[in-house]
Amino acid sequence: MELFWYVVLLSMLAMYMVLDGYDFGAGIVHLIFARNEADKRAIVNAIGPFWDANEVWLIASGGVLFFAFPMLYASSFSGFYLPLMIVLWLLIFRAIGIELRTFLDNRLWRVLWDASFGVSSLLLALFFGVAVGNIARGVNLGCVEDGVSHCDPQYFFLPLWNPTFDPRAEHLGVLDWFTVLIGLIGVISLFIHGSNWIIFKTNVSIKERLKQMAWRMNFVLTFLVILTLSLWHLIHPHPLRNFFVHPWLWVFPILTFSALAAMFRLRTFRSEHTGFLWSSLFLLSAFASTAAALYPAFLPSSNEVNPPLTPWNTAAGAYGLGVGMKWFIVAAVLVGIYMVVQYRVFSGKLDDSGYGTH
């Protein structure tokens, strides 16, 4: 039962990453590369009909986390208090940026909200990468100092950084060189992913330039991924243990690298949706590889005193989880139907879907 909800929760988060990921990426492209109003409008139109539903994956994942693993929800949301609040504020600025830019037909007004949309998208991509980094690194569960717990073993609190930015320090911060490295992977990979979405769903004038940029960025991404993997053992001494115990898990890293390799051809793909499929596969399989490496931990402990938080020591009561399984399956089928309807009605190029023109 716990395993079922573990898989459900991770799948929902993975969906969120792929779906809202292209929104963030589109925001980054919008900020850095879009120069004329037609391109800017086309980019907003290409995510306009979807971004709200994409964001629901985050909210619904939060709901499912609360419902299935209340202990983990309580511990991680209070422990990551400040970064979560900052993420909330960024989500607000991003959303009003998208929604308000067309309300007044004035250049300054649009510049303001375009910046709000673009900068928050960029920072969100960074922060979500940092979030994955924090989970991969683990936290000081139980507030251990000199081998003694100073709070309940399932709780912790992280400041934004500690002055050394060292992921192996006793007093950890949200930002350190390891988590920022993964944050950068987040920014670069979502930029590529967002570019692929724009190439797929629009006819913007900067299309060729985007292909070129995404191709170049794929080199950076490959470098960062290899760098992270070569440093991983500094954080976790035996990073590959799960893969040797369950060899079938190798399928995830293999897919990750195949997708990375395939994206080097993204200037010459014949169909405009191919690139998007590969970057989606990269995000999904990289996420699954990380989860596979950490399993069974949801949130590893950075000390030897307290055990990690796992699906089994954080789950809700068995009766509730059982009932939830029934309604969840119904809901999941409905969500699937909504998505089919949504993506069918808004199929094809969306340059002038008319988003925001009321």
């Binding site: 009909p49 709901g63 929800y73 709780y155 609190f157 509730g320 809901a331 988003y355 009321h358």
Partner: protein
């Protein structure tokens, strides 16, 4: 320690108060737009479709503000109320997760189709998407109130040795006697806000002499819906809700009514007066004898329990706040019925559109249902104090101990600043939409 709890409470109170300014209009407006669109489909009269389009603009803005201020709510259970979430997540996680899965996906998937898909879908399918958005928003309200109802009157659970609440009976969450009266009361109140807003915009156009044709349609719909919903808020839904409080939270009821002492014989109903917590009485009281006993028990001379019947540790933490919230809600609710009854009378006589006094009153009245809705929620929530889960889990034991007061105050100040900006933008942009009118 005290500060810490205070900031956690203030932040939740502030963010939820601001948030609920938007959904109360979203839920009511979804219904009214479906109504306008339906009128268009049945009659073929283009004006109803224009009316739907106009209100969809306000709806889009309002919905966006509701979403961006709503996401923090889902997070704050964990960030600020970690211990509460840990202990009760096995129960209230059900309804909150269901809200995400059943209503948010429904709303968000069809919202874009509803707002921007008319050309691609045709009128009938467009009506359907509007209906689905309406369904999603009302379902969301139901699941939130189911969550709140459980905190007010917990059912269907057991408490384990480690203090955790676990669900034992799923159906009980929805057959909770607190739920349906509270839900219907809340939805009727949301329609009151919506119909007052619609009537106010109509009155604005008529008084201004612009968009007169649409102004008349808005006034007619707003006044009819306003009268019906204002009455429904009081009877039967408000009455049912009050009886639930008498039955399940008698000490809260005594504090709401400002009843410090148990009555000998019939209890009076207080219209005005200021609770004096030192002297334990109401100052400057104006009251009508025996009416409270009648409203509560349908018997003029039955005593009603006062605060003196309960140990002071069980009293709601903020008796004057609760008393005022309740009296503001009830007082305004009564005035709403009067105003809408007068407007409906002139509407029926055919002279409403030229009665400038009544039109001015309708124009100026629209902020008050917002105040009444918020006051109603303060009644519910202050009435629950000092408990998070009524009678079982004290508020002081539910907050995030790991988050220091400095961090909470920092984010509270951040929310205040950010929401001030959002409030200004909403007013500015909604004002602009109204000023431009249905026929640009």
């Amino acid at each position: 320690m005290e500060d810490m709890l205070l900031y956690h409470r203030l932040q939740f109170a502030f963010t939820i108060t601001f948030h609920y300014l938007f959904p109360q209009l979203t839920m009511g407006l979804a219904l009214m737009i479906v109504w306008f669109k339906g009128k268009f489909l049945l009659s073929g009269d283009e004006r109803w479709n224009h009316l739907a389009h106009f209100w969809m603009k306000i709806f889009a803005l309002n919905f966006a503000m509701g979403v961006v201020t709503g996401i923090p709510m889902e997070f704050q259970f964990g960030t600020n109320w970690a211990r509460f979430s840990e202990l009760t997540g096995s129960v209230i996680g059900q309804t909150l997760a269901m809200e995400g899965m059943f209503s948010f996906f429904l709303e968000s998937s069809f919202l874009a189709l509803f707002l921007f898909g008319e050309r691609r879908l045709g009128h009938k399918l467009h009506f359907l998407t509007g209906f689905l958005v309406f369904l999603g928003s009302w379902l969301s309200g139901l699941l939130i109130i189911a969550t709140n109802a459980w905190m007010q009157h917990p059912v269907g659970f057991e408490i384990l040795g480690n203090g955790k609440f676990v669900l034992t009976h799923f159906g009980a969450l929805f057959s909770n006697p607190w739920l349906w009266p509270a839900y219907l009361h809340n939805q009727a109140a949301s329609l009151v806000t919506t119909s007052f807003v619609i009537a106010a915009v109509g009155a604005f156009y008529l008084l201004n002499g612009r968009q007169v044709e649409y102004g008349k349609l808005m006034l007619r719909s707003g006044v009819i819906a306003g009268l019906i919903s204002s009455v429904l808020v009081a009877f039967p839904t408000g009455d049912w809700s009050a009886k639930n409080v008498v039955k399940y939270q008698p000490v809260t009821f005594a504090a709401m009514e400002g009843l410090f002492e148990t009555s000998e014989g019939g209890a009076e109903i207080v219209l005005i007066g200021q609770p004096n917590m030192l002297a334990r009485k109401l100052d400057n009281k104006i009251a009508v004898p025996n009416v409270l006993s009648f409203l509560t028990f349908q018997r003029w001379h039955q005593p009603v329990q006062g605060l003196d019947q309960f140990d002071e540790s069980l009293w709601p933490t903020n008796v004057p706040g609760l008393y005022y919230a309740y009296h503001i809600m009830v007082g305004l609710g009564t005035l709403f019925i009067v105003l809408m009854a007068v407007a409906a009378y002139y509407l029926a006589r055919g002279s409403l559109f030229s009665r400038r006094g009544v039109l001015w009153a309708l124009l100026m009245a629209f902020p008050f249902p917002y105040i009444a809705n918020i006051a109603g929620w303060y009644t519910t929530e202050l009435g629950r104090q000092p408990w998070l889960v009524y009678g079982l889990l004290p508020t002081a034991e539910g907050s995030s101990f790991m988050v220091s007061s400095g961090n909470t105050l920092f984010t509270l100040l951040g929310f205040v600043g950010l929401y001030f900006l959002l409030g200004l933008l909403s007013l500015l942009l909604a004002g602009r939409i109204v000023y431009k009118g249905p026929r640009a």
